[in-house]
Structure formats: C-alpha cells, structure tokens
Assembly symmetry: C3
Homo-oligomer: 341 residues x 3
C-alpha cells in the first residue's frame, strides 16, 4: 500500500483528506516512533502536544481533533491506523513460504490439505488433519491425531500434543505448548503415582496463544479456550479449565485445574487462580491478583488475596496509615491509663 | 481394556460388582464429563447429587457410598479409576514410535541402547548415553555428555544441556530446559562479567518436569531434583538448588539460587523463594507466597511476605477491618480531646 | 589450565602463593561442593568455619583472610575463581562444533559469515545476516531478515522472529523467543481484532537472555534491550519496552508494554510492571513487587502495590501487630463507653 501520496491513501482508506494531498507517505508509526515520511495517528485532543513534537508527515485524526499538518479524518483513527499496519507487515509468504519444505516430516497417514505450508523440519504425526490455508513454521510438532482448522498460523517450535484440536484462524506463537499432561497424582506408599491424562484441549476459532504459553490437556474430557480469546506469553492453563469466548489474559497469568472462566473476562498479568474457581462473564481481575474464591459476573477484583477492587483500594490506602495508627493507639492507651499490652 | 461388560471389568480390576453386570462400558470420565457408556467414580457420599445428574452408565464407589446405578465397589475409587485411565491413554508406540527416525541426528560417539526411540530430528550429542526403554520425541536436543536413564519420556522440543544426568523413568514435557546456565555475574568496570556455570543438573528417578520448566545448572557442583518430585509447567529452579524426594511444585513457582528444599514439600503455584532459603521436610507453602526466610520442617506458610498460615489468615481477616479501624481511632481521639494528627 | 600445581597456578593467575606450592589442583568448586583436589575461594573471614569443614586442597583468599591450608592470595578472590571456572567449562567447540551441520537449512539469500557454526536442523531464513564467530545450536530458528552480530551464542531451540537484530556477543538460552508479536487488539463488533505488530526487537551488545524468556516486537518502532543487560529465565518483556544498559532482571519478571526501564536497574524475581511505567536509572525493585507507577532514579521499592522500601517494611512490621491492634481499639472503646460498632 506504501509508499503512496496522502491523497491516494485517503481514497484507499475511505478517509477525508485535510490539507496537502501531495505529501508522500512511506511508513506508519505511533507518535513516539514516527519520523519524516511516516503517517501517525491521534485518538484525542490531549495528545496534540505530543503530535507537535513528532516529525510525522501526516496524521490520522477523528472528528474532534484539529490537526497541525496534512491529515486523514476518519471515524476511528486507531482502527484505520491498524489497517495501515497490516499493509506494512511482512507478507505471510515471506514468513511462511507457501510450500511443504523438503525437510518437513509428514506421516503417510496424515491428511494435509492442498495449499498448507510446512516449514523446515515441521513434523506432522500419524492421523493428523490440517485444513486449507494453515501454515506451520519451522520445527512445529503436531503429535498424532491432532486437528488443525483453516488459516491457522503456528509459529516456530510450537508443539500440539496428540488428539488436541485447533479451530480456524488460530495463532500459536513460538514455543507455545498445547496439550501437555495435566498435573495430577495420587499419593501412594512409594510416592506419587501419575493419574493418566487422557482428555484433550480444544482451542476454538480465532484464539491467539502467546510465546511459551502452556495449555494442559484434561484428565478426562476437555480443556477449552473459547472463540476469540487471547492469551499473552507464558500463561499457564491447567487441566479441565474452561475459558469462555473473547476473554483476554495478560502475560504470566496462571489458571489452576478445573477453573471455569466466563465470556469477556479480562485478567491482568501474573494473576493466579486456585483450582475449581469460577470467574463470571465480563469480570475484570487486576494484575498480580491471587483468586481463591468465585468472582461474580461483572465483578472487578484486585489483590492478594483478591477482594472487590473498591475494598482493595480502601485497604491499600488505610495500610499507609497503619504504622502511624499503631502509635496513635499507643497514645490513646497512655492517655487513658491503659498499658499498651 | 475397553469396551467391556461391567462384570468383566469387575473381574479384571478385582472389584465387587453391584447391580447389572451386563452394562457395556465404552469409556471412563470424571463426573463432569461422563456420558452414557462411560464409567465414572465417586469418592464420597457428598458427591451423590452430582452423580445423579451424570449420565454415566456405571460408577466406581468405595465401601461407604450407596450407588444409584450399576457399580464397582473398591477400596480406593480414584486409584481404580486411574488404572482405567491408563488403559484409555494413547499407546506409547503411537506417541513415540519404537524406532530411530531417519532424520534423527546421533553423534557417532554417543551410546544409545537398543530399543531407544528417537523421534524426527532428535539430536543426541557427542558422549551422550541413553539407557534402554527411553523415548525421545521430535526435536529433542541432548547436548554433549548427557546421561539419560532407562524408560524416560522426553517430549518434543525439550533440551538437556551438556553433562546433565537424568535418572530412570524421568518425564520431561515439551519445551522443558534442563541445565541452562545459572544466573551469575560479577560487577566490573565495563559492566557485568559472566561467572561460568560449570556444574550440572541431576534429575533423579521418577521425576516429572512440566512444559516450559527450567532447571539451571550449578555454578559448581550440582542442582538436584530428588527422586519422585513433580514440578508443574513454567517452574524456574535456580543454580545450586537442592530439592528433596517426593516434593511437588505447582505451576510458575520460582526457586532462587542455592535454596535447599526438603522431602515431601508442597508448593502452590506462583510461589517465589529468595536465594539461600531452606524449606524443611514436609513443609507446605501457599500459592503466590513470597519466601525470604527459612521454613521449618512441617511448617505451613502463606503470604507476601510469607508468615505462618494462622498468623497470615488472622492478618488477612484484620485487614478487612482496617479502613473502619482508622475511623474508630479517629472517633476515640475526638472523644478524648486529642487531635487526629 | 588444570590439573596443575598450586605454584604453577599462582604464576598463571598472578597470585601470591601461600604455603605448599606442590599441591596438585585438579578442579575448582564453591565451599559447599569442593572436594579433595579442588581449589575453592573465600571472600571474607566469616566464612572460615565453613572453609574448615571443606575438603578443598587449596583456597583463594584476599588480603584480609588468613587461610588454614595452601592458598593463593589475590585482590578479588571471587573474580579470580571465576577465571578458573572459565578454564573448566566445556570447550565451545564441543557445545557448538565449528561447522555448518549438513542438516542445517540456510536460505540461499542469507549471508552467513565464514566460521559461523550452525547446529543440526538450525534454520536461517531469507535475508538473514550472521556475523563472524557466532554459533547457533541445534534447531535454532532465525526467521527472515534477522541480523546477528559477531560472537553470539544461540542455544538450542531459540527463535528470533523476522527483522529483529542482535548485537555482538549476545547469548540466548534454550527456548528463548525474540520478536513474537506484541499483545495488542482493538475491540470490535465481532470480538477483538489484532493490531499488526510491525516493529522489531533490538538486543544490544553483551545482552544475555535466559531460557524461555520472551521479548515481544514493537507495534511500530522498537523494543530494546540495552547493552550488557542480563535477563534471567522465563522473563516477559512486552512491546515497545525500552531497557537501558546494564540492567538485571531475575527470573519470571514481567514488563508490560511501553515501559521505560533505565540504566543499571535491578529487579528481583517475579516482579510485575503495569504498562507505560518508567523506572529510573539505578533503581532497585524487590522480588515479587507489583509496580503501577513510576520509580525515580535510584529509587528502592518493594511490595504489592510497591512502595518505597522503608515504608513497605514499616507497614509489614505494623501488619503483624494489626490483629492485636483491633482488640486494643475494642478495649479502648469499651473503656470510653463507646460501642465497638
């Protein structure tokens, strides 16, 4: 899409041109990185001072912002900017060349649709099925009987264990592991004995799992990541967890076994959940919270142990008064003739 | 073992048959996933209402539970159920075909016992020794001079660095890293200089290490994970740590360098230990605790910073009264004619 | 360098010989692991009792310590010991044989300098450039257009995504991922839509990144890890983060998007930072802290939420008095004729 004149870009993006349409746009970048030749974007008037200090040649703005340079006016500047970024991304054919690399190892009993791309040393086990348009990077390993839907992207060094299923348009980032054994043991006379983990993982459509993220298979039945959910890097999801649709977990969060997470749930980073906890639809969990009891639909919790966020903030504020409070109580006791202890 | 009649299953498992022995059992699943044809299990009478709502065709119960459908009565229902699960698991020969894959790269100076399975692109370095019955998945990398005992399972993409040693029946899940350099530097005029990490890791018999878990090699000497210990996913163990036998760490826990963890220790998820801490035999550490001083044998601690769990719970309860306590002290001061500050 | 007589070792290390120079030194180990034949080291007199219990044949000491056995006296015992360890480490040529392994997959459009070592199944994408002296282990994947400086070590199973750049002498430990997509989405009518992440990661000279550590690429512009910084295992760095020179992060720490970390910053393990936080030069952040606002240059903070460490310690001390404080306030109210609530 680039380089292109601002006038031409306005046409292609369906935007209103403001100012000089002859400016040539060679790139796109956020306010903090944009240089001459770039187009940037501003979502609200409060950012205009930052824009003034930015060397971008043009800016994408909304209805309520008056730009200080040639601009495109659109309804949703960030969304329009994201469309531009897509045009700047490395083409998929460069990242995942449209071929089956000669070093890929495909089991004769696997079904790989036409047009599936397999990178160097990718391994597709017996009984696997990969639908059209999916691309597996270098060293991706599908253990036997895995199903991969259409138009998935599996980056280098991801592993999907036996019988797990990915929907359509799933993205797995490097080092992601789907379907490792859940963590289950029975105590016995000679130590712990392993409870076989014979369930699977189902990753539904449009899910994205970050680098190093691990989703354990169920003991029996399924661990499920619901449609459209996005999990950042190094997230842990235990066996038999159910995650609803369109939920978002930030990095390094951990969900213990058999938790049930609703639709549209947001979790900050490094959150931890005890096992068998239910988090309701639309709930929000603050970063680093430790959850050991259910969170209702729409609940907003924070802290360790986590409480309703308003109570948690009141306690945090009161805590800063605590050392002085100890002294104040001592003075009261002295004034009242009481011993401190 | 399945499908089979319930009567035949009773015989094979040494269980007492209760009710109709002709029911055909085609699978096994927990209460929440079991469907018609499955056998499930119930460990205590309190779960009978859940059983009533479950479509399982049969149930495994103990002496004290009266089943509402055809059943097997045994001493330990969960243990019997686990035996059944083992029969349902994918056969090892499907997950780790009993062969040396032609793409495996075995150094001519490595000693690989007969019957060892090596997956596609597995790499066995110079001087490695692998004992009989062990199976390495696709893309497993053994750096030079690694020793692997008998009947180990190393899943895809695990890495064991040079000279480290695994005992017998060790399981490494995908992406596990054994023997990366410990984190040690000396400050100097041009920044930090690396302290070479020349020790090793010893992983003893029957240890299981989760997906993405990292055990660092010692600076000198050994980092040790004791017999039968089980570490969940994304756990970090620093250099020169010693973990005793039969200890269990949940996911995302981190043990800093030179800690000494006893036998039979249980740690929840996301626990963190400062360096050089000693945790005594049989101690229990609550999830997300931050430990910066020793925990005695049998100690039960929780919190950040961690305290004895009873004190920790008393403080957590008192914290919820703190905002009101601040107001109460203000009222007392006013009543006594004292200024609040 | 070993085995060698202590006299000869003194000469090679430029140390003063104390006692019998004929002792043969066959290894080197810390106080807790040293055995007969080893040389160990002691940094301060307080460790002499531990030395007395150690079977080392010789010891490296500083000016202020009187050894109880043959010794080398030097200015900085730990630094001298580290020099010895380097001599004991496995030779690089054993870990990374100086060759391009025949199973390595090098794109014809990549530029690989003479003398670069590529391990089994290493993958070098189109447009990559690798400078002299760098060594890539087994299964390392460089996506297209990656630049690797001179004398880098990339251990097995590391992944560097497209267009990212590593400086000279960078070390990536197994499973490290550089340049996965940042975590950015826009809400929309059909769920979240992905914001393309078209920026890169720049890892400057002398940086070391631990096993399983993930550094996300920028949305636009760069995520930067500054010269000489060291990140331990399983660390997460979000998109558009800037880390200054010579900063040190312990394991499992997570830095959210767009944070700015100064020079010489030290973070303990399992620290978490909210997005857009600035941490000033030389700041120190205690283990497991949760940071949601800026930390000034030289600041020392601790806790969740993090506070100045002195305040944080005062609060932690006062917390242990809180349950009793609740009772004391109750007694005061009773004495004053007030109802407790």
């Amino acid at each position: 899409m680039l380089p292109v004149s601002l006038r031409e870009l306005a046409t292609r993006l369906g935007a209103e041109l403001v100012g000089d349409g002859d400016v040539e746009i060679t790139g796109a970048a956020g306010l903090e990185h944009a240089a001459s030749g770039d187009i940037t974007f501003v979502t609200r008037a409060a950012l205009l001072p930052k824009l003034a200090a930015c060397e971008a040649s043009a800016v994408i703005v909304g209805a309520d912002v008056e730009p200080d340079r040639p601009a495109l006016r659109v309804e949703d500047p960030y969304r329009t900017f994201a469309r531009l970024l897509a045009a700047l991304a490395a083409p998929l054919d460069r990242l995942f060349p449209p071929e089956v690399h000669p070093t890929a190892v495909v089991h004769p009993e696997a079904e790989v649709a036409d047009g599936v791309a397999l990178g160097p040393c990718a391994v597709v086990g017996a009984g696997c099925r990969i639908a059209t348009g999916s691309r597996l990077g270098a060293h991706v390993v599908l253990e036997p009987d895995v199903e991969v839907g259409a138009d998935c992207l599996l980056y280098a060094n991801t592993v999907v264990r036996e019988r797990c299923r990915l929907g359509d348009r799933v993205i797995l980032h490097p080092g992601c592991v789907v379907g490792a054994d859940g963590f289950g043991y029975l105590p016995g006379p000679k130590g712990l004995s392993k409870i076989p983990q014979v369930g699977i993982v189902i990753v539904e459509d449009d899910v994205e799992l970050g680098a190093g993220t691990c989703i354990d298979r169920a003991t029996t039945g399924t661990t499920t990541v619901g449609t459209g959910s996005k999990l950042d890097n190094l997230v842990q999801v235990g066996h038999n967890v159910t995650i609803g649709e369109h939920s978002v977990f930030s990095a390094q969060t951990g969900i213990s076994g058999s938790c049930s997470i609703g639709r549209g749930v947001t979790m900050g980073g490094q959150v931890g959940l005890a096992d068998h906890v239910r988090v309701g639809d639309g709930a929000k969990v603050g970063a680093k919270s430790g959850i050991h009891k259910d969170v209702p639909d729409g609940g907003i919790v924070f802290g360790y142990p986590a409480l309703d966020i308003r109570e948690s903030h009141r306690i945090a504020a009161a805590l800063r008064k605590l050392p002085e409070l100890v002294r104040r109580v001592g003075r009261l006791e002295k004034a009242g003739g009481q011993d401190e202890e």
